[in-house]
Symmetry: C2
Subunit: 401 residues, 2 copies
């Protein structure tokens, strides 16, 4: 199956590379059954979308943006400057990645929250040009979310062709330096194929997951609600609970059955639960060990000493401490980012941070005296690597009066 998806995505990429806008139109017609008159959604259309969004939702979005802005504003990585030895100053500074691409999927549930999670840090980072693609017929919530950020151009293009257009550039879609955002199997395949050619991406995608660590202080009804809020995402969601007692596990399972009844997405949640696990652990040490081995995207520490346990976590995307911190708070509005690496990838990848929209540049400045002191080191090493011109670039400077 992955092979089929990959080869379809590869053909789409090739068509966009060869045909630009014309290929985008043809592919949109074939796959979406329609082509907008203009791929770019005008800023007027973005503004007008606000008329279809309730005041309450607008207010909620404003609170979420405010919290996301506070936390991501605090993340701006600062410069570094040190004298490594007398006369040699090394420094490092972060600069925004100039051109950012963002994919927002279509589908039944309008994921406008992902617009906030990328647009806020991209804006704080100072990215010069932000391009977003979303399938034709985007719901007003998504257009409204974009309208809150003046510095973005939104295109009504979906699927692998949108990723290809942003990675390669076409007549109307600008080429970007890094691509962010989730998507279906074709979008993900296109993103990973572009990553294989050096295009920077936020992170590889995997099914969403939550792990809950529970002890005697846990409330089974809260655990069940957290597990279900993950399970309703999709049939391939993973939910795992590690509890220090069978009593908690049994009560949680009973609570899940009770709460499931009332959920509109209970069929999806049931499918996800079928692949999920409840594990009775010996003690908190074993729970931490399993959690760090698995490296969950979301980790809820539903335990008495949540801060103590949090200090021992070294593989996870985002961690929720205590009994009043549900995962859904972080999904929307606590201020943390909800675009996170999943299980296999938390060991090496980070969730989206403000730094993900920046890159670092290093600088060095050496005085004549500093170079005199460093010269024997550089010359010795250059000659050992058989690079005489490297040695000469030092020596010629010291031979001059």
């Amino acid at each position: 199956m992955q092979g089929v998806v990959d080869s379809i995505a590869a053909k789409i990429i090739d068509r966009v590379r060869g045909g630009g806008d014309r290929a985008l139109r043809e592919i949109s017609l074939e796959l979406d059954g329609r082509v907008p008159d203009h791929f770019e959604i005008s800023s007027e259309a973005l503004m007008l979308s606000g008329g279809q969004v309730s005041g309450a939702l607008k207010e909620a979005i404003a609170v979420a943006i405010s919290n996301i802005r506070v936390f991501h504003g605090a993340q701006v990585p600062g410069p570094v400057s040190v004298e490594t030895q007398p006369g040699i100053r090394c420094s490092l500074r972060y600069e925004p990645i100039p051109r950012i691409g963002l994919y927002i999927p279509g589908g039944t549930a309008p994921l406008f929250s992902t617009v906030l999670m990328t647009m806020v840090p991209a804006t704080i980072a100072g990215c010069r040009e932000i391009v977003a693609c979303t399938p034709p017929g985007a719901p007003p919530e998504i257009l409204y979310a974009f309208s809150l950020f003046p510095n973005v151009r939104v295109f009504a293009i979906g699927g692998a062709q949108a990723v290809a257009a942003m990675a390669l550039g076409t007549e109307t879609v600008p080429k970007v330096d890094k691509i962010f955002g989730p998507g279906n199997a074709y979008v993900t395949s296109a993103k990973m194929q572009m990553a294989g050619r050096g295009v920077a991406i936020d992170m590889p995608a995997g099914p969403s997951e939550v792990m809950v660590i529970a002890d005697h202080s846990s409330k089974p009804a809260f655990i069940a609600a957290d597990l279900l809020s993950q399970a309703e995402h999709g049939h391939d969601s993973q939910v795992i609970v590690l509890a220090t007692s069978m009593v908690i596990i049994n009560e949680t399972l009973a609570e899940i059955e009770r709460q499931l009844e009332q959920l509109p997405r209970r069929d999806t949640a049931r499918l996800a639960l079928a692949n999920s696990l409840a594990i009775c652990v010996r003690d908190m040490d074993q729970a931490v060990e399993i959690s760090n081995f698995y490296g969950p995207e979301h980790l809820i520490l539903s335990v008495e000493d949540a801060r103590g346990v949090a200090g021992r976590i070294n593989n996870a995307g985002s961690v929720f401490l205590g009994h009043f911190t549900p995962e859904s708070a972080g999904d929307y509005a606590s201020g943390t980012n909800h675009t996170l690496p999943t299980g296999g990838f938390t060991s090496a990848w980070s969730g989206i941070t403000t730094g993900a929209f920046m890159k670092s540049i290093t600088f060095q400045e050496i005085t004549r005296e500093g170079l005199e002191r460093l010269a024997p080191t550089v010359v010795e090493m250059a000659r050992a690597e058989q690079l005489e011109a490297h040695a000469n670039a030092v020596l010629i400077r010291l031979m001059t009066e």
Copy 2:
């Protein structure tokens, strides 16, 4: 040509995935003509290599390590913690990537400096397990450089099969989370193919390059020496000089001819120079504009106001300020890292930093009062995304006494 390289590398990856150590032995025999008795180089062998390295080189390596350590030690990214609104604390902490893989190429020139450039920051970051591969018959300088770091296991495996072994794991080679280091076309292809499957890598590779910006204060002999030290790297190296006067350009070209005569690698350098450019710019503004557009791996600011110009650079790998800061100082020993993104990639990728060996985890802790305040926001957004269980995870907590 790239297609052929990619398909050979893909076959090697498939063989290693299917056959593990047995495949590694077969491939080593086919490609290197030999298989070591044990892939792993013992720590005794690493230690003994020191006997074949001169005291002067050992001392130079010690100085380089010291400077690299000072600068990379200053880069350790600190934690962040803020209250985004009353009762909601969001924080972020960096943790080492547990398992790191490092490839060091073989070939005529022993690139032991790259060992330092990766091992120092990996050690500072606190990576638990560091695996390195280098082709059989590594020169003593490389083995000696590894011997200076207690926490690394070195394997005598080269080529695409080494990358595959570290990315996938075999019976003797541990699977790693992120792969660092340069290599030939097959190594690079294997690395990018693994990147396309979500394996984290340091950065995509490209031909090495230097850009020099020169003004009336420049010394043509210094510029020529810097251009040649880049040109001697390989026939595909790019060297470009942007000068504010034709006089500087002409004198630089004459100096290049003079200095070339004395270089052992002059044939390689001549090939690289054939593809290189000298551009006479209108003024410093135009030079900065061209440089930021090109985004050079190495940028030498051979100008009077080097700090002023450096402040305007936003796309580059590593920048060298003033007349006494040759690129070769940064290649070996100033303290900056020499593993840098090249032209097309500096816009989105950073050179190796200590942070490249770490990933971030976010944390949030909400009080009951904080959740009460945030509840309307989360519930409103969750319902607009049609995720009722997300809303319920908040509401159920507030319904409890």
